[in-house]
């Protein structure tokens, strides 16, 4: 299961020594198996919100529930995919993917079986013994996704994982990401500042307001999959997202 609820999340940043309200009471419920994209203007605290869901940061107020249970710390039930991948350069691709399993004390042969399955799925098998410096940015993000999936988390948290990719690689991964979601039925929360990306990926898009941020609009995207970025029928969804983003008042 993986129903995650954020209740009235409030978070202050320190700005020139003064507290600045960044997240002003975000309420968001993501049902088990939902794929929700969060978009919002830069500096609205959407990445911070994701980090709070991951338990890597504490909110100043509010709480996060996973299947009704209050979360206090970080843990492998919610795995984060970082913007730059955060792969460990001293480990091979395979060892990176197996890291969390090793930490959990899963025996070696079992680890190999699991990692092999996901390396195959992400088309990384031939790079299993490579080090990360030998990989392109797109390959690195595949490894980061594989590393998250092997943990079989209830929720997958993705923080602008495709922001640094060239457009062809991104398009490819957008399609793959939808297939992964359909295959694994994971709950996914995906932060992006890229509106077409959100429209392609999300079954729902939550638009954050400028800070102090709240969920300004929640838009269901009922459209067949796999979607591609060029699909003109997604245009009307993108327009709605953009309109919600624009009605922000002064920056």
């Amino acid at each position: 299961m993986g129903k995650i609820e954020a209740k009235n999340i409030i978070k202050y940043f320190q700005h020139d020594g003064k507290p600045l309200k960044a997240i002003g009471g975000v309420n968001l419920t993501v049902d088990d198996g939902e794929f929700v994209c969060i978009v919002g203007p830069s500096g609205c605290g959407k990445s911070t919100f994701l980090r709070i869901l991951a338990g890597l940061e504490k909110p100043d107020d509010g709480e996060v529930l996973l299947d009704g249970k209050k979360l206090v710390n970080t843990g492998p039930d919610r795995i984060m995919v970082f913007q730059e991948g955060a792969l460990f350069p001293w480990l091979t691709v395979e060892d990176n993917v197996e890291y969390g399993l090793k930490v959990a004390g899963i025996p070696e042969n079992e680890r190999h079986d699991i990692s092999k399955r996901y390396l195959d799925m992400m088309q990384l098998s031939q790079f299993a013994n490579s080090y990360t410096y030998q990989l392109s940015t797109g390959m690195k993000q595949r490894v980061a996704i594989a590393r998250a999936l092997v943990m079989d988390p209830d929720v997958l948290l993705m923080d602008e994982p495709f922001a640094a990719l060239d457009s062809q690689t991104r398009d490819l991964l957008l399609v793959e990401m939808q297939m992964i979601w359909q295959k694994t039925k994971k709950t996914i929360i995906f932060v992006t500042h890229n509106v077409p990306e959100a429209a392609v990926l999300g079954s729902r898009v939550a638009v954050f307001s400028h800070r102090p941020s709240v969920v300004k609009k929640s838009l269901n995207i009922d459209y067949k999959r796999p979607r591609v970025a060029e699909d003109e029928n997604l245009g009307k969804f993108e327009k709605e997202i953009l309109a919600a983003l624009r009605h922000q008042g002064p920056k």
Partner: protein, 252 residues
């Protein structure tokens, strides 16, 4: 290219020996002040043939290895603590900087009083001369770890000791290598310096014996051996290790 570089080096050293021999042949200084390269070479051969040279090298190396191991172990531990616990850094951190400014030989009187004229005393001087270089580099290394490495590991369930061995140490390893390299250089100076003053076996002792016997060629021969070992360990142990780590970590 590589052969060319090697040739250049050989030519340089041959030139030094020729100039050296030339100065000696000019007989500006008497032989007991300025020996010829041949005399120094004879001294080395003598040391090889009666085994005293190897015994001296082995003794010094053994002390170095023990002292440096203590320094590396202790320095890593201290450095990691300083980097991860702010109170430790604020208190012990300032002391470490102060202690690092003490030259290793300045620890010798204390070591003699504490340990007597023994191996332990020399090892103490070696370890204490090297430990703070390892500490400071480890501290810098851990402080410079990409925070997302630590977050990702914690997110995947790593805690406490696991976090130290699987993330902090490997992630900071490129810095630690610099610490080991500096530590080794300090340790080598420490061993030789301590042996000179303790006068208790080893290369430093042989160097001092040369002075006591007024044997300039033995003094120079021992200095050459000390330098030679320095070049070998720097070039073959630490350079290799550093290259390997830097490549694997994708830093070059």
């Amino acid at each position: 290219m590589k052969a060319n570089l090697f040739g250049k080096k050989i030519a340089f050293y041959v030139l030094i020996i020729i100039v050296w021999q030339g100065i000696d042949s000019a007989e500006i200084w008497p032989d007991n002040i300025f020996p010829s390269p041949i005399e120094v070479g004879e001294d080395l051969l003598y040391g090889v043939s009666d085994g005293s040279l190897f015994y001296g090298i082995a003794t010094s190396m053994w002390r170095l290895v023990i002292g440096l191991s203590i320094a590396i172990g202790g320095g890593m531990l201290l450095g990691i603590f300083m980097a991860r616990v702010e109170t430790v850094n604020q208190t012990i951190g300032s002391l470490v900087l102060g202690l690092q400014s003490i030259p290793s030989v300045a620890w010798v009187p204390l070591a003699i009083l504490w340990f007597g004229l023994s191996d332990s005393g020399i090892i103490f001087v070696t370890a204490i001369g090297a430990i703070f270089a390892v500490t400071i580099n480890t501290y810098t290394g851990v402080k410079n770890i990409d925070p997302s490495f630590i977050e990702a590991a914690r997110n995947m369930g790593a805690k406490g000791g696991q976090l130290v061995t699987t993330i902090l140490i490997p992630a900071a390893f490129p810095y630690m290598i610099s610490g080991f390299k500096q530590g080794w250089a300090f340790a080598w100076r420490g061993v030789i310096g301590a042996e000179l003053l303790f006068s208790f076996l080893g290369l430093g002792f042989l160097l001092n014996v040369g002075r006591q016997l007024n044997d300039v060629s033995q003094v120079i021969a021992m200095m050459l051996v000390i330098m030679g070992i320095g070049i070998l360990i720097d070039g073959f142990v630490f350079k290799k290790l550093e290259d390997k780590v830097m490549t694997k970590w994708g830093l070059r």
